[in-house]
């Protein structure tokens, strides 16, 4: 009896270890993604100069009443360039407007990049010194926030948006009534 217990106990401990490690490994692809505490909370209020027209300001107030995707990018960010084509497709789909945050970028670089590659954004705010990105808890571009008409952050996607992410994560979170043309509430 005692001899059997001596065999079973280490085996049980080992089995427990296997379960714990298996869970850890299964979740490890998400390990790099730090969940945002902003989800379910109001998006940060901001009023920042517009990239295309520095005399104009882009403010969160103007965005209230609409669903929008808040996309943090910069021309220095390689993954953002990889994402760009998908952003253009999203613009073409016309389901939800893209609001850009040009993060710690050179204005000339940003404008010439958009001229060459196409501009998927309805409007672009400029975060010259990086303080707005901190308000949104950004730690690496690209990051994309889905904000509802009440100004609540519904979802955050970290990394370049893929076709799958768009179809499986973002689109299902939009109301079915969201017309394919409009961003009207």
């Amino acid at each position: 009896m005692k001899g059997r217990l001596r065999f079973i106990v280490p085996l049980a401990v080992f089995g427990l270890l296997v379960v714990v490690l298996a869970i850890g490994i299964r979740q490890s692809p998400d390990k790099d993604l730090i969940p945002s505490p902003l989800i379910g909370k109001p998006a940060p209020e901001f009023s920042l100069p517009s990239l295309t027209d520095p005399s104009r300001r882009v403010s969160s107030e103007d965005l209230h009443g609409h669903w929008y995707l808040f996309n943090v990018w910069g021309t220095w960010c390689v993954s953002c360039r990889a994402e760009h084509e998908m952003l253009l497709k999203i613009k073409q789909a016309g389901v939800i407007p893209l609001v850009g945050l040009d993060w710690k970028d050179d204005r000339g670089d940003a404008l010439s990049f958009l001229k060459d590659a196409g501009n998927p954004y309805q409007t672009i705010a400029v975060d010259r010194d990086g303080s707005e990105a901190i308000m949104w808890g950004v730690y690496g571009a690209p990051e994309t926030f889905l904000v509802n008409p009440q100004g609540i952050v519904v979802y955050k996607y970290i990394g370049p948006i893929t076709q799958d992410a768009w179809k499986q994560q973002i689109l299902p979170r939009l109301p079915p009534t969201q017309s394919p043309r409009g961003s009207s509430s």
Binding site: I34, P37, G130, S131, I134, W136, G137, Y139, G140
Partner: protein
């Protein structure tokens, strides 16, 4: 080299290491207007994780984002915020992950309690093993048969 020379050499080396480690910042810390603010600033930035490098504190990290966060903390200190207000702000944007020392809340309870639970389990197991061994030793003596262990 005489033993005395060696010991002088070792002491000097240790002193140099100690001195170096107390001032060795990867980043020159930004100047604060008063020593009190400076001390609070240094303590704060050592308690936050750099979100891009994760094993470094904001005080040690050379990346851009860490510099931006240090500036944010500095601005908040200069605006008269308390340490707790600054910590709450950082947690509200980046989550508990940004704190090197997570607070004791429901979500992190297991983190704080597991070592204690494991210690208790370990002590119980150790006690049991010791008692069994003691009992075995006692029977061995009675049987006077050392091969029976």
């Amino acid at each position: 080299m005489s033993a005395r020379a060696v010991s002088i050499f070792v002491v000097t080396l240790l002193a140099a290491l100690l001195l170096a480690s107390s001032t060795a910042y990867a980043i020159a810390p930004e100047q604060m207007p008063t020593p009190q603010l400076e001390a609070r600033y240094l303590a704060l930035i050592q308690g936050f994780r750099c979100m891009q490098c994760q094993d470094e504190s904001l005080a040690d990290s050379p990346v851009d984002l860490a510099a931006d966060m240090r500036r944010q903390i500095r601005d908040m200190l200069l605006a008269g915020k308390t340490d707790q207000q600054i910590r709450d702000f950082m947690v509200s944007r980046y989550g508990y992950f940004i704190l090197f020392k997570p607070p004791f809340v429901a979500k992190t309870a297991w983190l704080w309690l597991t070592p204690g639970v494991l210690l208790v389990v370990g002590v119980l197991v150790a006690l049991r093993v010791i008692r069994q061994r003691a009992a075995l030793a006692a029977t061995d003596l009675e049987d006077n048969d050392p091969t029976d262990a």
